[in-house]
Assembly symmetry: C2
């Protein structure tokens, strides 16, 4: 299991509309093969900055299966209009579960 | 409840020693006022890149109480030697718990 970490930046005054669009997009992730969960984290420090965290079976489940599917196009159709910069995407695996 | 997100970069060949140092530092967080959990995430994409995720009651619990305490000095004493760049710290709150 890995996590996709996507750093997203939008115009701060579009926050309500953006978050509503992410909620609308949830089914596209819930139905995706190898997808195990999604959360959206809002920066407290930087207005309009968000971190999308999506749990996947593997990097390929995200980068090949999902990105090659109509679900990814639907996601981008819903939220792409809000991005003021290209999303920065990384994948991480848990090294230490401290407590 | 908020999460501190710290982007850390070390020399990739120091990963084992760095992760051991983080494990050694866990008690300094576990005993900290207002601290509710810690995990260390290792980048799959970028060798030597890590994301430290620490749950706190508030930004002040991290930035004032913890950073002003001997526990923070002890943490930096253990892990600071590994950093090849200044940690990038952000604080986030959950906007959407998708599934």
């Amino acid at each position: 299991m890995i996590k996709e970490i996507a750093q997203l930046q939008i115009e701060p005054d579009q926050a309500i509309q953006f978050e509503a669009a992410v909620v609308e997009a949830i089914p596209h992730f819930r139905d995706a093969k190898g997808c195990h969960g999604l959360s959206l984290e809002r920066s407290v420090d930087v207005p309009g900055a968000y971190m999308l965290v999506v749990r996947w079976d593997s990097v390929d489940a995200h980068m090949i299966d999902f990105r090659g599917s109509p679900a990814f196009a639907a996601w981008r159709e819903l939220v792409g209009v809000f991005f003021t910069a290209a999303p920065q995407v990384d994948h991480v695996e848990q090294a230490i579960d401290g407590f």
